[in-house]
Symmetry: C2
Subunit: 138 residues, 2 copies
């Protein structure tokens, strides 16, 4: 019996779903401090990039590049940070974070810095709608 | 006139060359606290993953996966962290870092934590030789 994919509960708690690409689900980190997407390949049992098939790895790279482009269109950041860490949540997921010289963590990474600051509901809805349009047009 | 690729001086100062893959040069971060590789695609003017051609992006993903496998064989870490940040050095480069529950930054990222601790020369030579053999066999 093959285990079905299920999103890690910690990822689902801290994020809002944006939509599904061919391989990955796209989540918006519910943290108004940073424009922050997370891609999660919908395959069970993945932790490292080496757990992907070669085809899925190529697809994840292309979907990551789409997410970087969407982030640039959304937020016009000074830099985009891309990372697959998994120290806290081992389920394979890729962060795509828009960074600004003026943001509260610059030039350090955002992970582990301060506390998550959820969006006000009206702003969260706007973000998800705008992201849906940008991914749809990508 | 097309600018030639040149390794960022900060990357060359803090690392030791391991060897060249088809697209990327492999560097060992000269920091004995963490087993830490850096891949740098030898193309001029790259900063974001979206600056790569589609073919180079696929090659970088495959070379990153090779480096993850080498890291696992080298150090048997509890987790591998992969990241392309570029907040300090904008030249596109991919970190592949072996992480341990017992390491001095766990579970946080390694970037910006404490101070780099260069290898003793005899250990640096051993690391580079072992890495060369592992990449050669990959």
């Amino acid at each position: 019996m093959i285990d079905a994919f299920a999103l890690d509960p910690r990822l689902s708690t801290e994020t809002v779903p944006v939509g599904d690409l061919a391989l990955s689900s796209v989540l918006l980190m519910d943290d108004a401090r940073f424009p922050w997407l997370i891609l999660v390949p919908r395959r069970a049992g993945l932790s490292e990039l080496t757990d992907l098939t070669s085809e899925d790895a190529a697809a994840l790279m292309e979907e990551t590049r789409v997410a970087v482009g969407v982030m640039q269109a959304l937020a016009q950041p000074d830099k985009v940070n891309v990372g697959a860490l998994g120290n806290v949540v081992p389920q394979l997921h890729v962060h795509v974070i828009g960074r600004f010289l003026s943001d509260p963590a610059w030039p350090h990474p955002v992970w582990g810095v301060g506390s998550r600051n959820p969006y006000p509901p009206h702003a969260r809805i706007q973000m998800v709608e705008r992201l849906g349009a940008l991914f749809g047009a990508a």
